[in-house]
Amino acid sequence: MTTHVKFANTLSAAPCETCPACNAGHLRKLGINMENWDYVVALAGNPNTGKSTIFNALTGLRQHTGNWPGKTVARAEGGFAHGDKNFKLVDLPGTYSLLSTSMDEEVARDFILFGRPDVTVIVVDATHLERNLNLVLQVLEITNRAVVALNLIDEARRKKLTVDDRRLTRDLGVPVVPMAARSREGVPDLLQTIHQVATGQTVGKPHRIKNQHKILNQAIDTLAVKIETLFPGLPNARWVAMRLLDGDERLIQAVQRGELGDLQPGNLAQANNAPEIPLEVAS
């Protein structure tokens, strides 16, 4: 167990959890009212894992939810307050991977990378953990300020699956919050965890993808060092290196234009002015 990881809240129930009055005081749904936010939180995840349900539960908005993959194609934004902080929540389109080219997936990828959310919540379907982890591992390469919302544990229970969230927390190196968003189960925990990650009380030490091939690892490391020199303080140099090695045009452009360097972590004012992500097809 590494000393960097302190997830008191996910490992033992917070005293407030059983007290509805206290919880109600913690969460204030702000709807689309989010002029002065302190932190930006992104909701990512595979299609149809309940991102919009969580979005609605936190913001009080009624973004239409539907049981089919691909419902959210653009990003939706809302706000909530927890404790003394205001959060802006961005609901991203569902995606299986950050390595492909369709427009809805690009919206998600670009926002996590260039929008620099303070916290990225990755919503996973507890009943299809393995498939969902593919995306989690990719997001963890980009950011260490992540929380995994292990959603649909009610479904998992129905299917008699048990998911060991502590084990998962240790293996992934970021907080894992079991929840059933449809019935609001785990929402207070999630809020608490988001708060802690946003304020830096909890610092994750995320899992790194282990390549089997030595030559690839060497290439990634060599390039990552160069990138870190070019953009000091960049938290995801390894991921940028992987994308450059894969010939990702968007990332090549970003390096050319120095877009990565403009967005240093914690530089909120600039993160908020992140380049508007085009949603239209240029044809």
Partner: protein, 487 residues
């Protein structure tokens, strides 16, 4: 941050950002050469391996697998080769049957209040206040009546149809529909996910056009955008339902009327799906040639729908928003209708001029001049086609006597039917209106959305004029054949 300038020896190249970016990219290009072309595959393999290992450690499965898997059993049934399509049709028919038979009574009730009582009250009030005739005509007979009509015709079917549709969506049925249709789309040279954007189009074509973003290939996405209009949308369901109830349901005995009208509406919806296939096929072999891309479609688990919440959100999200849009467009449209009916040039109103002028063409299509004018007035929103048709028909017949362009209270189906029959409508007019309602230009919101999504004037024009051209063609052929057979 001064790492570059202090840590490096003086004789090294100065850290000029652009040059360094170049050097990083050059290094990347060189390394890419070294690692070979299989980098992507190796990376994916590493991710999958890690994910499998972590998941395996965290999840424990039940000792014995559940003997009866409900989801799989349902899936085997609703996506079966034999039962898939019949079940889909059955479900659609039942939904429309409930909508049609359930909407009738509340429609009549609302019509009685809004069109009779409130309208009369407002007219009386106008007399007491002493409004000039033209102002009370414009406000009450034009704007108010058109709005009241839209509300009483549209609200009940929408309040019944949308929650049912949303429940099916929540339950997880839509991806199964996509699964069933996938093969057809592939044969038509289109993307299988077009089935999903088409399903969205059944709610609203503008939303359907936006939903095509889930399709990665620009070629297949354009096909999906152009053909989305063949999915009958919100604004058109009430027209279909009303006309089917009057002209098709009217042909059979009362106990079968609801079922037969539902069948007629389902047939129109299926005809739209058929046109989707045919036009996709045509486009992918002419203007938009190319390979079909493959994709994997996830069939999500069935989830018990949360009934009350669904009803609440579908009433708020869909019904009220759509209704509000209809009302916003109905008010100015009501004013326009009243004005063109009351501004006279040489003894005839503007509307009559237009109707007389287009009537021969309309009759050639088995429609009439009034319907054509109504479709022009209704470009902003299809929802107001029926109210416009009724107001104009009443105008041409000179009925009501309360000034031109005023409906005589058609607050029951029988009254509406009597009005239309008096306007020279036959079963052919009804059928062709249903066909034309399926095949005409998208509403202005959808056209604008298409322009925004494609960024191309050319494809916007194609999406606009292709369906209306088809509509003219089809109604013309149907009218000619019909008249030939009828002698």
């Amino acid at each position: 941050m001064t790492v570059n300038s202090t840590a490096l020896p003086q004789n090294q190249r100065p850290p000029e950002p652009h040059e360094t970016a170049e050097s990083v990219l050059n290094l990347a290009a060189q390394l890419r050469w070294d690692v070979g072309g299989e980098f992507h595959e190796h990376l994916m393999e590493a991710i999958y391996t890690d994910a499998a290992r972590i998941a395996d450690r965290a999840v424990s499965y039940p000792e014995k697998p559940a003997r009866f898997d409900m989801d799989r059993t349902i899936d085997n049934l609703v996506t079966s080769r034999i039962w898939g399509f019949p079940l889909m049709l059955l479900m659609l028919t039942v939904v429309f049957w409930i909508t049609i038979s359930g909407a009738n009574y509340p429609s009549q009730f609302l019509g009685g209040i809004l069109l009779d009582t409130v309208h009369q009250f407002l007219k009386n009030l106008a007399v007491i206040v002493g409004l000039p005739w033209w102002l009370s005509g414009l406000l009450i007979d034009g704007m108010y009546l058109a709005t009241a009509w839209v509300v009483s015709v549209m609200l009940p079917p929408m309040a019944i149809f949308f929650p049912m549709f949303t429940l099916l969506e929540d339950f997880g049925y839509l991806p199964r529909v996509a699964f069933n249709l996938d093969n057809f789309f592939k044969k038509a040279g289109a993307h299988g996910k077009q089935a999903l954007s088409m399903s969205m189009g059944f709610g609203c074509n503008a939303a359907g056009v936006i939903a095509t973003r889930i399709i990665d290939s620009p070629r297949e996405r354009l096909i999906a955008i152009i053909t989305n209009n063949f999915a009958v949308c919100n604004g058109r369901w009430p027209t279909q339902i009303l006309i089917a109830t009057i002209f098709i349901g009217g042909m059979v005995s009362a106990q079968w009327a609801g079922f037969i009208s539902a069948l007629a509406v389902v047939s129109i919806a299926l005809l739209g799906v058929l046109f989707s296939f045919v036009v996709s096929w045509g486009l992918s072999r002419s203007m938009l040639k190319g390979e079909v891309s493959t994709f994997s479609l996830e069939l999500p688990p069935y989830r018990p729908p949360r009934i009350w919440q669904t009803i609440y959100t579908s009433v708020i999200d869909r019904t009220l928003i759509v209704l509000w849009r209809a009302v916003v467009f109905a008010m100015p449209a009501g004013a326009v209708i009243w004005l063109v009916s009351n501004i006279q040039l040489g003894g005839l109103s503007l509307a009559e001029y237009f109707i007389n002028w287009t009537n021969p063409f309309g009759l050639l299509l088995g429609l009439n001049g009034i319907i054509l004018l109504a479709y022009i007035v209704a470009i902003p929103a299809n929802e107001i086609v029926i109210p416009t048709v009724l107001m104009l028909t009443a105008l041409v017949l000179g009925a009501g006597g309360a000034g031109a362009g005023v409906m005589f209270d058609p607050n029951s189906l029988a009254d509406t039917e009597a009005l239309l029959r008096a306007g020279g409508w036959t079963l052919l007019t009804g059928v062709n209106l249903m066909l034309f309602s399926l095949l005409h230009n998208p509403c202005s919101t959808t056209i604008y959305t298409i322009f925004k999504e494609t960024g191309s004037l050319k494809w916007t024009l194609v999406s606009t004029f292709l369906p209306i051209g088809m509509g003219f063609g089809l109604t013309f052929v149907v009218a000619q054949v019909w008249r030939l057979l009828a002698g």
